[in-house]
Amino acid sequence: MSIIDLTSMGEPQSDLRKELNDRLTKLQDEISEYCFQCGKCTSGCEAHKLLELEPHKIVALLKRGLINELVNADVIWTCMTCLKCRERCPQRVAPVEILFALKNMAVASGKQIPGKYTGMLQSILSIGLIQDIQQTTTRSNKPVKRDELSLPPLSKPTDVAKFQAGIMKIAMEKV
């Protein structure tokens, strides 16, 4: 299995896209009923001042059905997933969940994945964790590794082939 199957950077995954599209359409219906654009989500948004994310506008654009525009907008990748918008919305709309669905859609549509997500995913596929044991240093710059600290062995998948077989089902599953 390759990373392409999961992130579909090569060939867009049509099944996954359909599933995501259904989810976004469902969210769009719900939002149209509930969100009254009070702006409370944006006033507490951790990414608002720094990166100009405006969750209430994301909701408004989805309400108008502009899914494609949103999927292609870089701003959806500025959410810090602090969950304040979900917690504080008086109407139980969860902009953060809309953003997750939009980002998933961007990935499933073959858009380039920003940052180190691809590397992390590759690491999960090969050892089960986002990274292997790292060498750190003490305050006085002495290098330290896990095995020098009398800590037990790292817990990670023991049978990597079986572990990958499980994940592969996500990539191959027909919805």
Partner: protein, 292 residues
Amino acid sequence: MKKKYALFPGCLMPTEQYAYELSIRETLPLLGVELVDVEGFSCCGEPMKSVNQLLTLYLSARNLAIAEKHHLDLFVPCAMCHLALTECQYILEKNPAMMERINGMLAAEDLKYTEKRHIAHTVDLLYDEIGIEKIKEQVKKPLHGLKIAAHYGCHILRPSEIGRIDDSENPQKIEAILKVLGAEPVNYPQKLDCCGAPLLTNLPESALTKTGQKLQAIQEQGIQAMVDVCPWCHKMFDSRQTKAGETVAAKLDVPVLYLTQLLGLAMGISSEKLGLELNLSPVQKLQEGGAK
């Protein structure tokens, strides 16, 4: 009675945030918690949520199924893992069709998720299960009014709908623990501000700016130290403090400790055993100041 938990380490704590793991393994057994090391855990899936939420759900369910196989509840010291695993339980309980679908995939590893287990984090384990009284009995070297800012972290507080570890707008459990250690918890306006860690993957400059802003505010208020309870928060506030300072053009000088490190110090455990030399922020300031 001893409380028994599978220690779910996640990725970040056991591969680089060693001080958290060391201080957990030193303190909790003395407070009556038995930590069981279980083979075969993987990433919880949380950082993959932006890429593929089904993958997140699958990885979380996989880890829960491993704990289930050992008939164990879970102790999950990472805020992000705690969110992923708790949310997975919440989703699968509400959605039997999804549970079936996930179990179809888990069969590849002969695993099966069937029932809810208790998922504890450091803060509720200390406050709700061990309890303030029991901690008090173990305090041998009180911290003499040390002024401390508590950083809870977004992911242990929200969304409250799925069950989180403290009140989402006014959490006080860490403060209560700090008090019993003899320290003086300080309420500061930025308490609920995010550390920025989730953006480290794709917008590291912005992530570190969030970190720097919060630390700067703490420094300006004359607070002596910060405690945190998540390897991601700590990576930002402690490991990357110098870099974070650069983003806000400030020379940051705030000692940052894991709550379990501070607890250990108050219990009289040596700083070496608690991994204090691994903190990159100036924690020696506290030791010079008497909180040995």
